[in-house]
């Protein structure tokens, strides 16, 4: 892969793997100790929930699970830069993002247990449903961002000269995608469109090094962040295992979007420490030693080292106990999920059910009931 990008450049970093802080000329650390403690708790909880869900899949309770181990900082750092009015378009691995937005953990289980086609109400947490079709969410995100622009023009406070909303906290959009999705046509169309219309969107790419079994280095000869230049907007690589740096870089990109400066591509340089999904066996393709290399860069350990001087063992124990309890609750809640009624798939199709749909529902019910002896 001599022509590919397999850089040792981890990008913008504010927290070294040993837990010590460092500085960056463009991106100041915005998280204080209390906020960092909050991030630690969220990341630790994420890991426990992720492990519980993986076990549930192995036990036949979930059809599939998509582990995110190793990507906790990229997700928590970025989502914590967003405001509640921002709208998030996840791909399918953004469990930490979803949970941190306030979505109950078990809601994600419903989708992967196969008892719902979508999952949750996107408006409830300004969080779109997962997109299983690679990169499709980037187009949705750009479309939503364009909608925000149009909404802003209707706002009496709109500053026509600046081309930006003048009110407080204008909303922006984050579209999550992966290194594999960066090769998709949809993603590239989204970049073009976002640039053409200066859409208030942040493309947050978690480069976890593997598109299932294809290494990121094969998919790009340049750092993924460098591709943004070709579309005419800034691209930043950030150490995806550094929650402080991810938060800072994402905050900066969202600020640009709110200020009407258009899209930004963030490449969070991280690593998928587990399989692509529970159907995958990474030992078949990962070079030996690679996991060990990244284990030393574990995003949670890094924050633990940073917090060690200011938090005592009892605090860490409390966090672990809390995370374990959340995992146990998730297990119980998942196992208690009721199967949907057979005709439930009619429920979310039409806001106002038509006569035809009502007749279909009735006919389906009748057919189902004919199974009763």
């Amino acid at each position: 892969m001599s022509s590919g990008d397999s850089s040792d450049d981890y990008g913008v970093r504010l927290l070294n793997p040993d837990g010590s802080a460092c500085e960056h000329v463009d991106f100041p650390a915005l998280l204080g100790v209390e906020e960092l403690k909050g991030c630690y708790g969220a990341m630790l909880r994420t890991r426990h929930l992720d492990e519980a869900a993986t076990a549930l899949q192995r036990q036949g309770e979930l059809a599939l699970w998509i582990p995110l181990r190793g990507q906790e900082a990229a997700q928590i750092g970025s989502v914590r830069a967003a405001t509640p009015t921002d709208f998030i378009f996840p791909s399918y691995r953004e469990h930490a993002v979803a949970w941190d937005r306030g979505l109950p953990a078990v809601e994600v289980m419903r989708l992967l247990r196969g008892i719902t086609h979508g999952g949750w109400d996107p408006a409830a947490h300004n969080l779109a449903n997962y997109a299983l079709v690679l990169a499709s969410q980037t187009l949705h995100a750009v479309g939503y961002a364009l909608g925000l622009q149009l909404d802003a023009r209707l706002d009496p406070r709109y500053d026509a000269q600046a081309g930006a909303p003048a009110g407080p906290e204008p909303a922006a959009v984050i579209a999550y995608l992966g290194d594999g999705a960066m090769s998709q046509g949809d993603a590239n169309e989204a970049f073009v469109w976002a640039a053409s219309f200066n859409a208030p969107v942040v493309f947050f790419c978690q480069n976890n090094q593997w598109a299932i079994s294809t290494p990121a280095a094969r998919q790009s000869r340049v750092p993924l962040a460098a591709r943004a230049a070709g579309f005419g907007f800034p691209g930043v690589r950030v150490d995806g295992n550094d929650v402080v740096a991810v938060h800072s870089v994402t905050s900066s990109a969202l600020a640009r979007a709110r200020a009407g400066e258009g899209p930004t591509l963030i490449e969070a340089y991280t690593y998928r420490m587990g399989p692509h999904t529970t159907s995958d066996d990474p030992t078949r393709y990962q070079p030996t030693g690679e996991v060990d290399h990244w284990r030393a860069l574990d995003p949670i350990d890094r924050v633990e080292r940073a917090l060690a001087p200011v938090c005592d063992a009892a605090w860490f124990d409390g966090q672990r106990a809390e995370a374990a309890a959340a995992a146990a609750r998730l297990r119980t809640a998942t196992l208690a999920l009721p199967d949907p009624a057979p005709d439930a798939f009619f429920d979310e199709v039409l806001v106002t059910e038509t006569e035809e749909a009502r007749a279909q529902r009735a006919s389906f019910r009748e057919y189902r009931e004919s199974f009763q002896v």
Binding site: Q57, Q59, E61, L64, D280, D281, Y367, S370, V373
Partner: protein, 496 residues
């Protein structure tokens, strides 16, 4: 309380998984999410974490088994709801030995340990079929002759996991492929299944030749032929065959081939279609050898009687099979090419590798199907030691407890099809070996003995050989050496 854990679909539509390695043993305490077993699917090798906390009661499949999704993996006595006091062991779910197919209790039938049925005829029957033999550990091998092939099908049928009613109801409802296609809606099919009506025997009155609900209920009243029995019902058994009860394959039935049976089938396929092979036969008078073994046994029994003064040293127990096995192994010293294998390199060149040691494979019909456990380095074993190893090998195989290391690595194999009453067989040489020695039945036969016709104990021994390694002459010489030692037991001393 007992909880059974069934193999889930681990990867979006997988049908089966191979048991690679058990990480727990019966009697072991396990915690929630503790890794239980490593399995490999077509997609991934994964560890399965325990869904229960408790004590492992039984494992239901063996390492190396290819098990379908839905099969019972293990039973755990869970701590949450302890078993009521005074529970009888027989009220526990069937504690299946590793390697057994799961047996689901029929509805309404209390789970009960099923008596293990002997797969083989008891020794008395064997003795009747082959007078004079002490073939108390009858191994077997699949052979090209039709009668023996039939005998060997039965273990395959036994190895078939019973479909679990709860997980695979459709298996019972699907019509046999040989029949005309039955037209019926799913609700009617379910009704037929619930009422035990075979749809193929129902006269359709519905539109376009479909079977209506009323047709099924009418057929049920008239007592139409029942559909194939469900998993919980006792399989039909062949009676009056020396107590060997084997389910018969039903006409039109499709029998999944899995686990040991599948491994055997694939190995046979490779042998038949990749190894050019031939067989030589030799009939030999084994009267003297049987007499010697009988005398040793008498001395052995006499020495074991209490109160008998030791006038002579005790004689170790040696069977006819052990004697023959010793001759097979010892004769290799002068015929090393019979203990070899054919190797083809990637560049197309070929080599013959002569094995440094003799690992004697012994074909044994077990409940899991035909397996070939080995006696490692059998060439250095004395006759009594070989006899002891043989006895242990067979009892382990029957119990499904052959250590994995003893399941591979045979360099030459012996198969005793005589226990099925056949006189000789052209067996299939196993892949990676040069020769297979097949033992026919020992029969009282009129034979010429010292110039006169007498009733003698005679058997036919066959050597199937890889014709790339051995030619007819070399195989015949090897077989001749074995035959000579069996006809004239002192010659065994000259071998090796």
């Amino acid at each position: 309380m007992y909880d059974q854990f069934h193999l889930p679909d681990l990867g979006e539509g997988l049908a089966e998984a191979e048991i690679v390695h058990w990480l727990v043993r019966p009697g072991q305490t396990v915690e929630l999410n503790q890794p239980l077993v490593e399995v490999e699917t077509a997609k991934a090798a994964v560890e399965i974490p325990s869904p229960f906390a408790g004590v492992v009661h039984a494992l239901h499949c063996a390492e190396g088994d290819l098990v379908p999704v839905g099969s019972a993996l293990l039973t755990v006595a869970t701590a949450e709801a302890p078993a009521p006091a005074g529970i009888e062991p027989d009220d526990a779910p069937p504690a299946l030995v590793v390697g057994h197919a799961p047996v689901e209790p029929a509805a309404g039938e209390s789970p009960r340990r099923r008596p293990r049925r002997p797969l083989h005829q008891p020794p008395a029957t064997v003795a009747a079929a082959a007078p004079g033999t002490t073939a108390d550990q009858p191994p077997s091998w699949p052979v090209a002759t039709s009668s023996a092939a039939l005998s060997d099908l039965a273990p395959l049928v036994r190895a078939r996991p019973a479909p679990a009613l709860s997980t695979a109801p459709a298996a019972n409802g699907s019509a046999a492929p040989a029949r005309a296609r039955v037209l019926a809606t799913p609700p009617v099919r379910k009704l037929a299944r619930d009422l035990g009506v075979d749809l193929a025997a129902v006269r359709p009155t519905g539109p376009a030749g479909t079977i209506a609900r009323a047709d099924v209920t009418a057929a049920a009243r008239l007592g139409a032929p029942a559909s194939r029995p469900g998993a919980g019902e006792a399989p039909p058994q062949r009676a009056g065959h020396g107590g060997a009860e084997r389910p018969l394959a039903r006409p039109g039935e499709r029998i999944p081939v899995r686990g040991v049976a599948r491994q055997m089938a694939l190995a046979m396929e490779r042998s038949a279609f990749t190894v050019p092979q031939a067989t030589v036969h030799r009939t030999v008078d084994v009267t003297a050898m049987l007499a010697l073994v009988a005398r040793w046994r008498a001395e052995n029994e006499a020495a074991a009687r209490p109160g008998v003064a030791l006038t002579a040293p005790a004689v170790p127990r040696v069977t006819a099979l052990a004697f023959i096995a010793r001759a097979v192994v010892a004769a290799l010293a002068a015929h090393p090419l019979a203990n070899a294998r054919w190797l083809t390199s990637a560049d197309g060149s070929s080599e013959i590798e002569v094995f440094a040691t003799v690992n004697l494979g012994v074909a044994v019909a077990s409940d899991r199907g035909l397996i070939v456990p080995i006696i490692p380095d059998a060439g250095r074993l004395s006759l009594p030691a070989l006899a002891g190893e043989l006895a242990e090998l067979v009892s382990q195989a029957r119990a499904g407890q052959t250590p994995p290391a003893r399941m591979v690595g045979a360099t030459i194999t012996v198969s005793n099809v005589g226990v099925f009453g056949v006189d000789s067989a052209a067996g299939l040489v196993r892949e990676g070996e040069a020769a297979l020695v097949v033992l026919g039945a020992i029969r009282e036969t009129p034979a010429v003995w010292e110039g006169q016709v007498q009733v003698r104990q005679v058997m036919t021994i066959s050597v199937s050989f890889d014709h790339r390694i051995l030619d007819g002459e070399a195989a015949s010489r090897y077989l001749g050496e074995i035959a000579a030692a069996l006809a004239d037991p002192p010659r065994l001393l000259l071998l090796g």
